[in-house]
Symmetry: C2
Subunit: 152 residues, 2 copies
DNA sequence: TACAGTCCGTGGACGCCATCGACCTCGCCC
DNA sequence: GGGCGAGGTCGATGGCGTCCACGGACTGTA
């Protein structure tokens, strides 16, 4: 994990569809060398996936909510987690310090669907209560912060 | 925006580095047709970007925090937003309903850096108070939910 | 019905890219 | 000094991206 690896990671966080040839030009190596480095970053768990980032409204997911979860005393956290994992609307799941054990980011199409989701969460065994905040708008999301020492 | 477009979006959310030829095979069109469709999805604002998803710990960003922001009465929300935009540690920024106008997701390397960030936020003009919760672990993040009617 | 225009696709062509293997160079250890 | 491994370059080849010309389906008009 040297400076070139960091530069590759930055480049791919900015545009995951860059060709190996283009990456090679940017970092000053040959394409096969870049190919090998990126392969190692993938298999070494540094790069988890390549994803297209989509404007949620355009695919019918216009409602974003952040939901705090308080667990029952004596709830099995792993079971709760597994239940959450089975709910596709939950895009992100953080295990938190504080009264609320989890913070979920969920995305649905309508307020009615959000209501159904909240009901479902409250019925989940191990969940004592939920606290939902609606995002009126997303200013930005998952902006990558540069990590390489500024690629010249 | 028909079923084929949705299938393409789903495929690219799952793996942004799929070749046009592979996409074409999956949706049953020719590569040039897919190329054109994806181009329109990009220029039409449906696909915003292609990003490599990185394990944050591996690039020295092991601390994740969610920070609620209460604005001063009379604060200029746009100015506050602009100030936030200039802070690279803030990866996501939601404008919320409720007492806290903003919810920020920030990522830093150490608790000391988080402290500095919180101080900086509290000093930002227009910010009345902040409330920080630390994520002990990220169970998952930005999991794409399928939107196409299950690609066969 | 006939016709023209538009949209959206296909197939072919061509140059670039991904990827493999052979080889080279450097640093390290015995 | 000599062997070895990591990590690079170079060259070849097959597949891919991308441009272009062409063709069928649908629509509105006479």
């Amino acid at each position: 994990m040297d400076a070139i690896d960091l530069a590759l990671v930055d480049l791919l966080r900015g545009n995951a569809r860059l060709s190996y040839a283009e990456l090679a030009r940017q970092v000053g190596l040959s394409a096969p060398a870049v190919h090998e480095r990126v392969g190692k970053l993938e298999s070494g768990g540094v790069i988890r996936a390549y994803r297209a980032e989509v404007e949620p409204e355009t695919i019918g997911l216009g409602v974003t909510a952040l939901i705090g979860i308080v667990e029952d005393s004596g709830a099995d956290t792993d079971d709760v987690l597994e239940a959450f994992r089975g709910i596709p609307e939950i895009e992100s799941c953080y295990f938190m310090a504080g009264v609320e054990s989890f913070l979920l980011k969920a995305r649905v199409g309508t307020i009615a669907e959000l209501e159904q989701l909240i009901v479902r969460l409250n019925r989940t065994p191990g969940v004592a209560s939920t606290r939902t905040s609606i995002a009126l708008s997303t200013k930005w999301e998952n902006r990558p912060q540069a990590v390489a020492p500024t690629s010249s």
